[in-house]
């Protein structure tokens, strides 16, 4: 072995000392901050000052444009605060969530982080990692500006833990009308069975891939829309509170339908991302893609026109149901600049903030008092549906189930994609529910 030189000894000792200093530093921030738990404080004009580190997985595309729009508005409205972008790219947020989990466990939280509203936040709430923000939500207008359904999903034991920034819809079929015309299909199918019939027609008309899919999470998203279609919104919602069994006849039928749908798709690998699947519809290689409504940005980027180059309808059998997911922002326990965080949350929840962000991102505002006329046609239709439709929570995007449950469901779907054995899929889904359900 090489003998350590004097220099390396000195370096090692310094390193050890620095580490020790760091760890004591962490401990003190952790304990001193636990006292600042109240979220009701009055806004200072121009902002509270200091750095506000905001953690997201919005690092590319329309999501980044939305975040940039927010950053510009934040600078303008709270000139004292300094926005620090802590975005982590990749894996539809899975990389970011892993980084966030270790930051939170090490008591080094960002000042605010993005989280899907709903069950996904319960992980953080249960571990006591985020603070209630009832004060901020009330200040923003509470139930008079946010839908009651939505606030109910953000509320745990009487407390609201995040400020919603935007709403997406997951049960949308994107259609290339030029392709469906080949098989003489002009109207949207009424239910799952007639949709499958349409796909058979398309196949006979020479369209090899009537439906497109991407990696595992896009397949989970497709499965959840089939579940809503075959179970109806009430029974679907019952899957998560235990009133509907995961091995009931309806779920078995949904699994069988899901299997049938996969016979009409392209061959995807587990790691594929969604844009490739949507692009196949855009390029006329496929007829349908089931994707959340962030896909509208992909169509717009390629210069396609709503109504002529592409159309959309809710997944057959889910008309009048809004399969929702929402992004929201939190106040972590032990945030270094909680007052700055509150300024950020005020901006996120304000009508101006919601408009600027959602116009750029392609989603719809969580607030109901933002005028729809300012938005493009797709978003107008989504805003109208959101007001009158039955709202259910998305599985694939953490609104209905927490991360642990979602990862079990994802593994089951990934396993099914290789085996195409729907009986095992139902068995695995039931086992995942048994393991994770309260």
């Amino acid at each position: 072995m090489r003998k350590p030189t004097l220099l390396s000894v000195v370096a090692a000792t310094t390193a050890a000392l620095t580490l020790a200093a760091c760890s004591t530093g962490t401990a003190t921030t952790g304990s001193s901050s636990s006292s600042s738990s109240s979220s009701s404080s009055s806004a200072k004009p121009g902002g509270a000052g200091g750095d506000v580190g905001v953690f997201t997985w919005w690092a590319a595309g329309s999501e980044k444009k939305g975040l940039d729009a927010l950053e510009a508005l934040f600078k303008q409205k709270y000139p004292n605060d300094h926005f620090v972008n802590l975005a982590v790219a990749g894996g539809a947020g899975s990389n970011a969530k892993a980084k966030l989990a270790s930051d939170l466990a090490n008591n080094q939280p960002p000042d605010s982080f993005q989280g899907h509203a709903g069950a996904e936040l319960t992980d953080y709430i249960a571990k006591g990692q985020i603070e209630p923000v009832n004060g901020i939500v009330d200040e923003l207008g509470g139930e008079s500006v946010f839908p009651k359904d939505l606030l109910g999903r953000l509320t745990v034991k009487g407390n609201i833990y995040s400020v919603p920034s935007n709403i997406h819809r997951a049960n949308v079929v994107w259609v290339n009308p030029a392709v469906t015309k080949k098989a003489g299909i002009t109207a949207a199918p009424k239910d799952m069975a007639s949709w499958i019939e349409d796909m058979k027609k398309l196949k006979n008309a020479g369209v090899n891939t009537p439906l497109t899919i991407g990696g595992t999470w896009t397949q989970v998203q497709l499965l959840e829309t089939v579940l809503i279609s075959d179970l109806g919104p009430e029974k679907y919602a019952g899957l998560f509170d235990g009133s509907t069994a995961w091995d009931s006849a309806e779920v078995k039928k949904a699994a069988a339908d899901f299997k049938t749908l996969l016979t009409f798709t392209n061959t995807a690998s587990d790691g594929d991302d969604w844009p490739a699947a949507t692009d196949m519809v855009i390029d006329g290689k496929a007829a349908y893609n089931v994707m959340g409504d962030w896909a509208v940005a992909e169509f717009a980027d390629k210069g396609k026109k709503d109504g002529t180059d592409y159309t959309y309808f809710p997944v057959p059998g889910t008309d009048g149901v809004f399969d929702f997911l929402a992004d929201s922002f939190t106040l972590p326990k032990g945030a270094k600049n909680p007052e700055g965080t509150k300024d950020w949350l005020r901006l996120i929840g304000s009508p101006e903030g919601q408009k600027a962000f959602n116009l750029a991102k392609g989603s719809i505002p969580a607030r109901t008092d933002v005028p729809a006329s300012d938005f493009p046609p797709y978003q107008q239709s989504a805003m109208a549906s959101f007001k009158k439709d039955k709202i259910v929570s998305s599985i694939a995007h953490g609104a209905a189930v927490n991360l642990a449950w979602l990862s079990d469901i994802s593994t089951a779907v990934s396993k099914f994609y290789a085996s195409k054995d729907d009986a095992t899929l139902v068995k695995d889904l039931a086992a995942a529910a048994k393991k994770n359900q309260a």
Binding site: K3, P4, L6, S8, V9, A12, T13, A15, A16, G91, S94, K97, A98, A101, S102, T122, D123, A126, K127, N208, T209, G215, T216, W217, N266, T267, A268, S269, D270, G271, D272, M280, K285, N402, L403, A404, L406, S407, D408, S410, T411, A412, S414, K415, Y417, A418, S419, K420, K435, N436, Q437, A438
Partner: protein
């Protein structure tokens, strides 16, 4: 007193590194084992997630998913080690036989090693796309263009139990050059006199390799095998990038550890997984370390 003077300065010099290694390696291993034996319950549902003690181990080892992951690891490791050794040795022999522009070839073969697994994974995810026929991309598209349609494959996504063999392709591509460099150095270390002596005795080229050169390369082959073996067992980044976080087909213990720790918030299961992996690696590496230190002492 005189005795202390001889050992004390040396000891003091080594002490900091002993403390650091003790803290950051052995204490953390102990901590990991300790975590793996803990009992845990779910925050929200109050259900017992890990019963504690050795039951944690029987629970994980008994689960079908983990057995599937271990099977994947075995397939990956065997194909990767055999593939890399064969390719590396082949290239080394070719270069050793004196091909023109040896320097160029040597760098070309070594370059993949300079690419990180993550970057290579992004490219290989696309190359190993399972799509066939019209929508084919990557290698399958290449085969179609070469009119070798029959060679198309679903690669690691195929339903076969041995599909992980395809995941070894990028790893072989990446590390064959390294093994080649090891063998080439081995060949260069053998003096030319031995070959000439063998030729004078009338040995054929094959016999020279078989009886004179290869036996002298066996220590190098052994170290290469150990290095490749433990790399394969710890391989995470390449598989994660190619197959995503929740892939069942491409699950190995390391990718499962990621899911257990970060997605399922189940550090106990991740620690059990890590301990099992450590034992598997130790079973391979420790005997090797013991024999090398013995042979070094006897020299």
């Amino acid at each position: 007193m005189r005795k202390a003077k001889t050992w004390l300065p040396g000891f003091l010099l080594v002490l900091p590194s002993m403390i650091l290694v003790g803290l950051f390696v052995y204490w953390l291993i102990a901590k990991n084992v300790f975590t793996s034996l803990q009992r845990s319950t779910n925050f929200v549902t109050d259900k017992v997630v890990n019963p504690g003690g050795y039951h944690n181990y029987t629970q994980l080892l008994g689960s079908g998913d983990y057995q599937h992951a271990l099977m994947n690891l075995l397939v990956l490791t065997v194909v990767f080690m055999v593939g890399t050794m064969v390719m590396g040795l082949l290239w080394a022999v070719l270069l050793e036989k004196g091909v023109g522009a040896e320097g160029v070839f040597r760098s070309v073969y070594l370059f993949p090693m300079a690419v990180s697994f993550i970057a290579a994974g992004v490219v290989w995810r696309w190359l190993l796309s399972p799509a066939q026929g019209d929508g084919a991309i990557g290698l399958n598209q290449l085969f179609i263009k070469l009119h070798l349609d029959g060679l198309q494959s679903s690669w690691w996504s195929s339903p076969s139990r041995f599909s992980m063999a395809a995941m070894a392709i990028p790893a072989i591509w990446q590390l064959s050059g390294y093994v080649m460099a090891l063998f080439l150095a081995g060949f260069r270390g053998i003096s030319e006199d031995q070959r000439e002596a063998a030729r004078i005795d009338g040995a054929s080229e094959w016999k020279i390799y078989r009886h004179v050169l290869f036996p002298q390369l066996s220590p190098i082959a052994l170290s290469a095998l150990i290095i490749l073996g433990h790399m394969s067992m710890k391989m995470f980044d390449l598989i994660y990038v190619i197959a995503g976080p929740n892939s069942y087909k491409a699950a190995v213990p390391t990718t499962m550890m990621w899911t257990q720790l970060f997605a399922q918030s189940n550090p106990q299961a991740a620690a059990v997984n890590a301990t099992i992996l450590l034992i598997i690696v130790a079973v391979v590496v420790v005997p090797y370390l013991v024999t090398t230190s013995r042979s070094e002492r006897s020299r």
